[in-house]
């Protein structure tokens, strides 16, 4: 089943407008509130033999989609369509963060970011070769994890003092125990196979105050994908993301010791709840020197990640500049410390 949003006043295509957060019609300017939109996807079941071919509601052309695509634009008439089958039942997202940054803002922000690059080549900084800028709702799982931690550690406190001709080193050994409960909520883990995990991790954080109940109109005019991995499959990755946090928390509870040696460390992490959500990402494809660069922009905060090209001449410039500066500074310091300038 294909969902397509037609303007009730003029019949033109409607799409989601990040500025107002509403469904808007580009032709007549009509806005429709999304939050009151009826949504019954979760309960709706589509037949198993789901159609492999979808036709655009608007023009009737065949929609060319990938298996994961849940929302796209008709390649013939450009109308934003939502493939409801791929967003229903178990595939129905619980929440969504709608795009807060419009295409124009994204372009500007990207150009600004390119200019800021300290090591990027001059030709890249113009940012005039954006091949495509695609607004995409990326499937994520938001995990609520609970960790029960029990650690035993042998800790020492060391004190040294002098008495007579001797220096005494006194080491006190303690048997320390900590029983800790740790709750981590809404840890995002991207569930799309296509997306580079590292890239997606760096896009965080997504402020959750904009998290809304899922409604299909939010996807109108954007690309959306359904998840490739279930929450069970991604649980290890979520645990992995918090393991460093847990370790540092444990260490922070064992203060006042000179050394801490863990004799027993039990971390039992369970998945209390996981929500399937769609998070907004602008994908920027950029052409420079005949090779493609892909950048991702957080569609809510505007944070940009991705490896830009690096100019060797700029690296050399910075390197020599910093080396010379440091050398001079060291000379000055040694001069002030009484070492003479040369």
């Amino acid at each position: 089943m294909i969902l397509h949003y037609k303007c009730p006043s003029c019949g033109s295509d409607m799409s989601f407008d990040p500025d107002s957060g509403e469904l808007s019609c580009l032709s007549c300017g009509r806005h429709e509130n999304i939050e009151n939109y009826p949504e019954e996807l979760r309960s709706v079941r589509f037949s198993e033999d789901e159609a492999n071919e979808y036709h655009c509601e608007n023009c009737g052309a065949v929609l060319i989609t990938e298996a994961e695509t849940a929302a796209t634009n008709c390649s013939f008439c450009g109308a934003g369509v939502v493939i409801a089958d791929r967003l229903s039942g178990t595939l129905a997202p619980a929440k969504v963060i709608p795009f807060m940054i419009s295409k124009e803002e994204a372009t500007k922000a990207f150009q600004k970011w390119c200019r800021k690059g300290l090591l990027t080549p001059k030709g890249f900084m113009n940012a005039d070769r954006i091949k495509s800028l695609t607004g995409m709702y990326v499937p994520f799982w938001l995990f609520d994890l609970n960790s029960k931690v029990q650690v035993n550690a042998t800790c020492t406190k060391v004190r040294t003092y002098t008495q007579g001709d001797y220096i005494y080193t006194e080491t006190k050994y303690f048997d320390a125990f900590r029983d800790i409960n740790l709750d981590y909520v809404k840890i995002p883990v991207d569930a799309s196979e296509k997306m580079n995990d590292k890239l997606m991790d760096r896009l965080e954080p997504y402020p959750y105050d904009q998290l809304k109940d899922f409604k299909t109109p939010y996807l109108a005019g954007y690309i959306a994908e359904k998840y490739n991995y279930t929450d069970e499959e991604l649980l290890p990755r979520a645990k992995d993301k918090i393991s460093g946090y847990i370790d540092s928390y444990i260490r922070s509870t064992l203060t006042g010791y000179h050394s801490v040696n863990y004799t027993n460390k039990q971390i039992d992490t369970i998945n209390k709840n996981s929500d399937y959500v769609l998070l907004p990402v602008w994908m920027v494809s950029y052409d420079y020197n005949n090779s493609d660069y892909t950048f991702a922009m957080n569609g809510e905060t505007g944070k940009i990640v991705g490896k830009p090209p690096i100019s060797t001449s700029k690296v050399a410039m910075w390197f020599s500049g910093i080396a010379a500066g440091t050398f001079l500074a060291l000379k000055c310091v040694s001069y002030m410390m009484g070492g003479g300038f040369w």
């Binding site: 090591l119 002098t162 005494y168 050994y173 320390a176 050398f327």
Partner: protein, 291 residues
Amino acid sequence: MSRIYLQKRGIFFLMIAVLLLLLPWAMPAKAENFDRNKYIYDFAHLLTDNEAAELQNIASELGKERETAFIILTVSGTDGKDIVQYVEDFYDDNAPGYDQPHGNTAILAIDMQERDIYLAGFKKAEQYLSDGRLDQIRDNITPDLSDGHYFQAFSAFITASHEYMGNEPNDGSGSDGYSDYGPGGSSVGYNGYDSGADQENIFFQWWFQLIASFIVAGVVVAIMAYRSGGRVTVNAGTYMNSDQSRVLNKYDNFVRQTVTRQRKPSNNTHSGGGGGITGGGHSHSGSRGKF
């Protein structure tokens, strides 16, 4: 004939005996005709005449530049005196100096009997050749002395003192000319802790500064390149629900304690002494040791 000869010889010996007896007392009187331009007093005969003459040349030439008398004093036995005392008395009694009695003087004294070495700086040399600097010079020349290379050691003392006196007392330059005194390792390893700012502090070496700046630049550029792709801006606090996260139960039980003791390191086993004030009231810096 022979009787007269024997008599003459007897008188001669007597005179020498009297002279030797009077020597300590005669010193002050001798100060009057002490040759202030003679810098090498090789009483222990460690140097050949040529070597002594060459050292004399070096000492007078370099001494002129620093307006300081660089004196080498070698003895075999100090009449039971401590070497420090001996050097102080030598300064008091002979009143050496570059242009005036009791003037700027740096003395290297060695006693072959006790195998003592003492370095002292008077007046301008006291300021420029601090205990720390003298310690360092002594450290550098001691191996040569131990091996019997007296000429090398003495000339190294003169050139090193001359070099040090070219730099403000607490403002020595990170000079590169020191590698020839003693093994490079020892001079690099020497920390200028007790001498305040020391010339051979590794921090003052230009090559160290150069390497350090390359490392800093490399690290900074690497960080810049790494961060150009965007960095992680979430931390432990981002996703933690602090209402629910806490320590539920804990204990810290004292188990046992161990105490180890260690003898205080004695100050510089080999050297010590430092400066002092002579009987004549002249203060000086110094560094003593064995070779």
